[in-house]
Symmetry: C2
């Protein structure tokens, strides 16, 4: 490259200062370009109805709640005997790397989920994303270690794995959810290739992207499988309490032998902008000198090199909210959960009404039927790629996410993800109507004449 | 390992579930054990005066400021034309990955530092620590890439490098600060070994741990060196505005050719508990298809896999504080800077008084003379290790940090770091008196009889 000496007049920056190929490969992940494209499409067609963003509905948020929750936590500290100076330190200063609201979160997990773990096994993180990165970094030590992920899979975990140059193995998800037999086959294949399947990532409830929920039998089978093959389960749980009716037990609450690392988030329920998540890692770790620690302690060490500690301010507001309901996150989510259930029902109703069973079968279109959560999957007979998305946004005024974005090993070209969480009923009705017109037109043009008359 | 089937009664957790040697090597970094030991010592001797924690003094913090700053930012958004719903979204929802207060930070950098960069080159991070991790991850793509660090060096950057399995090369710091000749020698050595020195990390102002400040001539020489050898400079700037009198120009403000990635933090000045930092990365990046981006864009991609976005709440409070002083961080720090200057002077005065020049020379003790900041270094004639620290805490009631904690390649066994930022003048006077007694006693016992009579 050209050399420019300091002090020369107006040395224009060399446009070749850095080459992308010299940067870490994770910045060149094609999924990132896809996401950028999706954002551009959303920006370019502001009038389009978007089933893309996996955001919580914000009609139930209230700006003044932030002040109330923060004040509530400060009052809680004062009532617990902290002096004004100590209260100030708790909110203003650096805090413990593992977090200062661990007891509040542990109490909440017991109250809501029946997860009974010591506060010392909890690490408070900057959202579930940091929890994933820290857990992966702690657990993956050797070049033969493999992370098992469902296919399709949330891009946050595959992104964190790429950032750390980890090896992935994908486990095809069945139409009705997680497939334990497929997982076991992959484990055996990996072991036969002298690799070490170390952990399997799952979202048992209202999974992102599929919207599927793992049944009780599969949960028990998965735990047994993890035990038998000596792997850990990374249970990500952002979509609990976003559906009417009680959820199934978490894997962690069923875990009798420390097989489950449980990752949680308050970003989909309480307060996205606080970016507070956590990881429960009560696994014992032994070193060569016979000393023991918890996996949470090792994760904390990693956190010290990533964010030092989760903002005290965010922790304070989240703790204030939890304390206001006796630790019950569920109590905050009665109205939102009903809303998400209603939105999903409205979406399914509109799909049913617009694409009756006979036409659906003729076209080769189908979808799953979640009872809540944020997402559902629609199978289509044409290639649901970015070109197709751009056409749909421009001509039909509706946006969705190509399911191929969520297949780290390729695939998913004939499905799209609809997010229903952020839309009103009127938007859902109109959006599904537009989407149906697009699907119908696109299916007609992609099928051969013979197919069209079957 | 033993296999436990689900459903057997009370299966006690296997204590060998995880072995530390199977975890990532970064959790076994001996520096982490050293830091744990330091924390234990601090906990075990609560009556000891501690020169260890590199924390800002909190006597100037006021809990109610949090509410005022947050309200100030919300009012600012409303005055800028945002509707109440938009204001709510700005604080409650997920925000842009690169941050929502980038323009406020860019304005502040111009007002305080004369750093004139577009807001698009700024990424808001969870403290400077995340900025370091993201920048390293973006920049280090190949196995031959080498990160240059001063020796001694802040443990946050070496920890982040270990987490990413990067190769380090250390550059010995001279007694009076950064040594450009030593840096050039290391660069040439690394290049000769077919490695690629990619970037050099520096804290030009009141460095952690040494307390040294890089002179103006060294700053210019360093920029020239970076240009000539095609490396980037990672300028970490947490200790600006913590000293009376105007600081020297940042490397970034002197940078004419995008050689400097500037990392900043509000954790030492405005609000540690908000955990808001930032990175300025205006370097152009070109890909194989000729498309250009800024390094900030690539860092943002990495951030999406680490924390998704910096908490909106933390950003709002920090922006509220900056807006209250027309963007001037310096204006918030007039009183703290005077306090840090006075604390450093008090420390130096007490050292001078307790260890007059003649005795100092006899013992082989010395220290540098920062004009502010948080740290100074004391050279001692004995091994200042953890055993020595434990003895000092127990027998003399004073705590410090062994400088060896900050030497990634080993060394630093005869120096200790004193942090003066967190102590009152009375604590400093008493603490230095105790420390002097320890140094004197320890120096006497470690010198041979001949030496003692020289």
């Amino acid at each position: 490259m050209s050399v420019q000496r300091l002090g020369t007049s107006d040395p224009a920056p060399s446009s070749t200062l850095l080459h992308k190929r010299d940067l870490h490969s994770s910045v060149s992940d094609p999924v990132l370009d896809s996401m950028t494209f999706l954002n551009e499409i959303t920006h370019r067609y502001p009038g389009a109805i978007s089933f893309a963003p996996g955001r919580p509905y914000d009609g139930f948020f209230d700006t003044e709640q932030v002040f109330t929750w923060l004040r509530g936590y400060l009052d809680h500290l004062a009532a617990a005997g902290r002096t004004p100076d100590e209260v100030r330190t708790a909110v203003f200063q650096y805090g413990a790397t593992a977090g200062q609201i661990r007891p509040v979160v542990a109490d909440s997990l017991l109250a809501d989920e029946g997860i009974d773990v010591p506060a010392e096994s909890v690490v408070i993180t900057v959202g579930a994303q940091e929890a994933m990165l820290l857990t992966l970094r702690a657990l993956f030590g050797g070049p033969d270690d493999v992370l098992l992920v469902p296919d399709p899979c949330y891009s946050g975990i595959t992104g964190a794995a790429r950032l750390l140059d980890l090896t992935l193995a994908t486990v095809a998800e069945a139409d009705d959810g997680f497939d334990c037999a497929a997982l076991e086959a992959v484990i055996l294949r990996e072991k036969a290739a002298s690799r070490r399947p170390r952990a399997c990532y799952v979202i048992p409830d209202h999974s992102n992207p599929s919207g599927n929920t793992m049944g009780m039998a599969s949960r028990l089978e998965l735990l047994e499988l993890a035990e038998r093959h000596d792997i850990l389960l990374l249970e990500d749980s952002p979509y609990r309490w976003v559906s009417p009716g009680p959820p199934l037990p978490t894997l962690k609450s069923l875990d009798r032998s420390h097989r489950v690392v449980h990752i949680g988030s308050y970003a989909k329920t309480l307060f996205p902008g606080a970016r507070v998540g956590f990881v429960v890692a009560d696994q014992p770790v032994t070193d060569d000198r016979g000393r023991t620690s918890l996996l949470a302690d090792e994760i904390t060490r990693i956190k010290g090199m990533v964010t030092v500690n989760t903002p005290s301010l965010s922790q304070a507001v989240v703790a204030g909210a939890l304390l206001a309901t006796g630790g019950r996150l569920s109590a905050h989510n009665t109205r939102p959960a009903a809303r998400y259930g209603a939105a999903m029902r409205a979406t399914l109703h509109a799909l049913d009404a617009n694409l009756p069973p006979r036409e659906r079968a003729e076209l080769g279109v189908g979808w799953n039927r979640p009872d809540g959560g944020f997402f559902l999957t629609v199978r289509v007979p044409f290639r649901a790629d970015t070109a197709s998305l751009a056409h749909c946004a421009e001509e039909y005024g509706v946006i969705w996410t190509p399911m191929s974005f969520f297949h780290p090993g390729g695939g998913g070209h004939h499905a799209l993800r609809l997010s229903t969480s952020f839309l009103t009923d009127a938007e859902i009705e109109e959006g599904v109507s537009r989407l149906t017109r697009f699907i119908r037109a696109r299916s007609d043009t992609t099928r051969s004449p013979e197919e069209q008359h079957v």
